[in-house]
């Protein structure tokens, strides 16, 4: 790690010339808080941190960095779990923390225009007086910002019914590395030209800096109730998930926890979980009281038919929140029972849930490590928490190998290596497994169109072909589901 500067590097005075006093950090004690994001295993203080206060200052920061050939790492609240905001030793962190204004909220058209540093939950709080809210609700929603949500295409427990960030953002205003402002998307349903809004959402800071986001707001449901169902074995639970969806029901949330998870979390939250159940399913219905009553009845019937043991339905808002509290606190609970844990984020077609869970159980034996499974079952987004102790020889290496094998299994059944946490630096090598060289080349082509010099968040999210060759992995995409009758190239 670099020692503190004797003299600040030239970029610092250049940034100071275009930003207000106090908006450029460069001393190690000031840049230290930015040395990692939620993926805290990797740390690196940046060359400097720039904190622009408006769009014009964002453009000025990009102009200075472009002029100096210095990489720019954008950062929201730093809650990301894949190292997307991990600084570079020779790069500037551009923090959107001071771009934190709700520009306007239009209850009639159900939209809000916000700056990127506005917290996810703050949007819903501002919309609450109008009976509206912003639907995507990542676990970090108290802290994470909408700009970071755009960068990672964040989800949450409600995204099965209400969609990911990409389904809830209408328009972004972006400062490009070339010093231009572009607006992607539209408040109308469809826009002509190429759909660059969707490309931008989830692009992990590689294409530009968001300066403004127009989000959809949706009416707060009058009522929500949740079913807690127990299953004697995990395969039956996984098949019950498929049965709910197959019945044409789209629950507001459909989450599953295995016994390891429920036993891990129950002592901390007293959610009232059935600790003998091999798996617990939480199924939420929201809407008008009549709709909720109807959907709860239909879901209960499907779950019972699918082999559920005990079925409990929340009878009050307090009880509903209590049922959810265990699911929402699974990660902190893992941190309390295990010195270290490694959270994976694979997504699979729902029909392969039982098969993949069985595979993970075999890997627990193979790697001699425990794995707690909590996940967005409804959309096939797994969050296996591999528990380990980094102080024991070999455990970190075994946990990493375990994680990589889970992701390879996800890809083999037609799934993906990340559902909502992004690729960042953590999963960049698994991208070589997921994609063909021609596909990675297409990604770089688009990246190059926005950022020809490669200054925006370099070495994240997309591996170079060279890196994949060194990593020595061939892609296994759809490897388990070969095409029966069409030639492959």
């Amino acid at each position: 790690m670099r020692a503190q500067f004797d003299h600040p590097p030239p970029i610092v005075s250049a940034l100071q010339a275009v930003l207000p006093v106090g908006c450029v950090l460069f001393r190690l004690e000031d840049t230290r808080p930015y040395e990692c994001d939620g993926l805290s295993a990797f740390r690196q203080p940046p060359l400097a941190v720039a904190l622009p206060e408006d769009e014009m200052q964002v453009l000025a920061v990009l102009d200075v960095c472009r002029g100096h050939g210095v990489p720019v790492v954008p950062r929201g609240a730093g809650t990301g779990l894949s190292g997307g905001a991990m600084p570079m030793e020779d790069g500037v962190v551009l923090s959107t923390a001071k771009l934190n204004r709700i520009v306007r909220l239009d209850a009639m058209s159900r939209t809000a225009v916000v700056q990127p540093g506005v917290r996810n939950l703050a949007i819903s709080e501002a919309a609450a007086p109008y009976g509206l809210y912003y639907a995507p609700d990542p676990s970090s929603q108290i802290a994470c910002t909408i700009g970071g949500n755009v960068a990672e295409n964040s989800g949450g427990v409600h995204c099965l019914k209400y969609g990911l960030t990409v389904h809830n953002v209408l328009r972004v205003r972006v400062a490009t590395i070339d010093g231009e402002i572009v607006e992607l998307g539209s408040e109308a349903l469809d826009a002509p030209g190429l759909d660059l809004l969707a490309v931008f959402i989830g692009s992990e800071g590689m294409l530009g800096i968001v300066t403004e986001v127009t989000v959809k707001l949706v009416p707060k449901p009058a009522v929500a109730r949740v079913i807690m169902a127990s299953f004697g074995d995990i395969v039956t639970g996984a098949n019950a998930v498929a049965s709910v969806i197959a019945a044409g029901i789209i629950p507001a949330g459909l989450e599953m926890m295995d016994r390891t998870s429920s036993r891990m979390v129950e002592p901390f939250v007293n959610a009232g979980y059935d600790l003998d159940a091999a798996a617990i399913l939480l199924c939420e219905a929201d809407g008008t009281p009549e709709e909720v009553e109807d959907e709860i009845a239909r879901m209960s019937a499907v779950l019972r038919e699918a082999g559920a043991g005990a079925i409990t339905v929340s009878t009050s808002e307090a009880e509903r929140l209590r049922f959810w509290s265990g699911r929402k606190n699974a990660f902190p609970a893992a941190g309390r029972i295990s010195p270290d844990y490694y959270c994976m984020d694979g997504t699979i077609p729902r029909k392969h849930l039982a098969h993949v869970l069985a595979g993970i159980a075999q890997m627990e034996v193979k790697y001699a490590l425990r794995c707690a499974n909590v996940f967005h079952a409804g959309d096939g987004n797994l969050h296996p928490l591999i528990l380990f102790d980094a102080n024991r020889p070999d455990e970190l290496a075994r946990a990493e190998a375990f994680g990589a094998e889970i992701l390879a299994l996800c890809v083999a059944v037609g799934g993906t290596i990340t559902g909502e946490h992004g690729v960042g630096i953590e999963k960049i090598d698994s991208m070589c497994v997921q994609f063909r060289p021609a596909e990675l080349t297409a990604f770089f082509g688009v990246k190059h169109a926005f950022d020809p010099a490669g200054l925006l968040n370099p070495n994240k999210a997309i591996p170079t072909l060279h890196r994949c060759a060194e990593f020595g992995r061939l892609h296994v995409k759809h490897g388990a589901l070969p095409h029966p009758d069409l030639p492959r190239f």
Copy 2:
């Protein structure tokens, strides 16, 4: 127009060498059927037509064209309305007509994998035995193909509730001009890397040739009923649309027709429309019988409150189809009462419906031409039909100016120049109004990443900056809604 060849051009024998007998057309009598698409005002027979029968042959055609430096114009069923499949005199039309196989249909995971030349309706027909269907339903669904739907991001009367093509396609397999196969998207909810699937959908054949599409199938609703409501003036009708949406209802269809339209179509279909009403609204509910009954009751109450006169609810499937028949036959009816018509496709934020309709009424006076308004009111997608007679001096020019002014008004209120028909050659100049130079440059950057030599459907969909300069139009984006407090560049 070019005379018939004495000797076929060299590209013909090169294509014949890689395709089966009968799959290369080059005589004028054979290429004539391909000289235009649904935008029949412009005609140009192509150099040749290639009809590959499988993916390997698609790659071979692209390889030959790349080798000869010959442009490629992809074509589905040729039902497009903006000239996206308009041939080039020196280009090859690549027709997907023979790629017409349903590869597989998985009722359990509710997906179908189809080749691009499969007709939209054929997917729903194949899914019907499983109680499923493919939701996007453009008016041309009997004829149009899924490949063309992908190219244009097609919608339909049900897209308010069920989404556009981009919301109903999970994955595409694409042959690139470089001879590679890439797969964009995934059967899982989200995919890592850049969301190139969304960019590809609606890219009007500029980025690659679709060889396979994986679509979502949805359960066919048990029941559907439609409300027909009359309004004494069009502004009240437009405001009623906003009221329905504001009440938290998402109808399965929400369509509006003005008096000009209903009087135009009624003699042909006998739909039973109220010909004294200034506007008729059709609001459909679908789902279980209980859901439909509840939603019909809520929508009726909102419409009555919003000032509707007569309200009729369909009591049988035959009656429901009869109510819709007028809306679905508006275009053919226009062709029967007017020698020519020009169909526009602007999309606006719903709240500006009344304002834009009033503006169109003023333009009818200004240009001395009648305009029938039929539209997807729920999602703000207008289809003004400008009626004219091309044989009368000046009427075509007035109709074009009328259309351009409608689109400029759409853009000025924050809307777009196309909802679902695409840009093609028809609206390419209006793109200069819609987008900033930096935004057009970003589009070309992405285009260049996929097609560096610019061989795929050139001169469509995206205007060059040079063309915009010649056209002499500055972009007016959000011109009527200036940003109150942020600087603009």
